[in-house]
């Protein structure tokens, strides 16, 4: 079987960086009061029981909230850089 190219997806580090940026952007655009509170994932709804092992949903909500808080400003810079690079180099 003479294959001319690799049969599986050719991952480069650049495509990994692109995927990570897209995922972080997706988490960052979840709006707090228009969306997350409506489906019960708001900030005020995560302070549940004070057992020493919070559940999966609480951990996920904490993760979403912390990603949105921490990555908001760096994402502005990273997205601008990506836009400029994509405009220049296609």
């Amino acid at each position: 079987l003479y294959l001319s190219s690799k049969s599986n997806m050719a991952f480069t580090l650049y495509s990994l960086i692109q995927a990570v940026i897209l995922c972080v952007n997706a988490v960052a655009v979840l709006h707090e009061e228009r969306f997350l509170s409506k489906i019960g994932w708001g900030v005020d709804q995560s302070i549940g029981g004070f057992g020493d092992e919070p559940g999966i949903k609480v951990q996920l909500m904490n993760l979403v909230r912390s990603v949105r808080t921490v990555m908001r400003v760096p994402l502005i810079a990273v997205n601008s850089v990506c836009i400029v690079l994509l405009l220049l180099f296609g």
Binding site: L1, L3, S4, K6, S7, N8, M9, A10, F11, T12, L13, S15, L16, G51, D52, E53, P54, I56, Q59, L60, L63
Partner: protein
């Protein structure tokens, strides 16, 4: 003439001695502290001798050809002090992001450990004790404990896998240098993805284990040994040999991962055993361990099947 010479040597020696931090005598037997004082003496003595005695000393004229100009020797000293400052700054910056001591722990291996670990990766079924041994609160280095994870074997196996992939492609006349880089970055990206997914799962299930990010890289990197074994089997014995080696290394690697991670993930749970909620949690942790093990054969097949056709 002698005073600045002594002053510089005196200041150079403590710096050379303080360099290798001997806070952890288990890590390395560092023999580098003997060398720098000799070098400094070799460099700076001739320069000062020439600057001090331009007419005398025909016996050291041959040695001092490099430093015939006192300006050059002064510039040399200034440059080396700048370089040392730069090195200190770089070390400080790097140790802010990546704790170098923790990284050194993973490379403190010796050949006996490497042999035993490789044997364990290929045939783990007879090993009895999978517990990582501790020494006064810190985990033992890989040199002293065969169960400890290390980063030497994964990195060496990664490079060997790239070379083997190049050879396999060359045998099929499909080689070009870009394909080599593509193969390397694909393998690296899959390991990074696996480590990120494991970190996410461990965080979401609030598993308070002592698995650091380097530990996860180590356990994910052990699959490269399986990949090398599989590719070698395929190259030496054709397509049948490839599938035999694939099933053998998949089973061995799955057993290895399950036994190693079971100690780290599931045992951290036994400290706070609550009530009915405990069984669901422990079931999820078991799923994580088994899923991580089941992912290994898939990725081994995915990354090596195109090499052996």
């Amino acid at each position: 003439m002698d005073l600045p010479q002594h002053g510089y040597r005196a200041s150079a020696k403590p710096r050379a001695r303080a360099g290798p931090h001997t806070g952890d005598p288990l890590l390395f037997a560092d023999t580098s502290s003997a060398a720098p004082p000799m070098n400094n003496q070799g460099y700076y003595t001739p320069g000062y001798n020439i600057g001090g005695a331009p007419v005398g000393g025909p016996e050291d004229a041959g040695v001092n050809n490099l430093f015939a100009d006192p300006m050059a020797s002064a510039a040399m000293m200034y440059g080396s002090s700048l370089a040392n400052q730069g090195k200190d700054i770089v070390n400080k910056e790097i140790s802010r992001y990546v704790s170098v001591n923790k990284l050194k722990y993973f490379f403190a291996v010796d050949s006996k450990y490497v042999m035993k670990k490789l044997l364990l990766l290929v045939f783990p079924y007879t090993h009895q004790d999978w517990e990582v041994r501790y020494h006064r609160d810190t985990p033992l280095t890989p040199r002293h404990d065969v169960n400890a994870p290390d980063l030497y074997i994964p990195s060496m196996a990664f490079i060997t896998y790239i070379l083997l992939a190049g050879m396999a492609l060359g045998i099929q006349n499909r080689f070009s240098p870009e394909v080599l880089g593509l193969c390397a970055s694909t393998a690296l990206v899959w390991v990074v993805i696996e480590v990120l997914v494991m970190l996410l799962c461990l965080y979401i299930l609030s598993v308070h284990s002592d698995l650091s990010i380097f530990d996860l890289f180590a356990y994910s990197g052990y699959k490269y040994v399986g990949m090398i074994f599989t590719v070698l089997g395929g190259l030496l014995f054709g397509s049948d040999g490839y599938f035999v080696a694939l099933t053998w290394s998949s089973c061995a690697l799955m057993f290895f991962i399950v036994r190693s991670l079971k100690m780290k993930i599931l045992s951290s749970f036994s400290h706070n055993s609550m009530g009915a909620g405990a069984t669901a949690k422990s079931r999820l942790r078991l799923y994580i361990t088994v899923a991580s093990a089941a992912f290994q054969p898939i990725i081994i097949y995915w990354l090596t099947s195109h090499l052996v056709r």
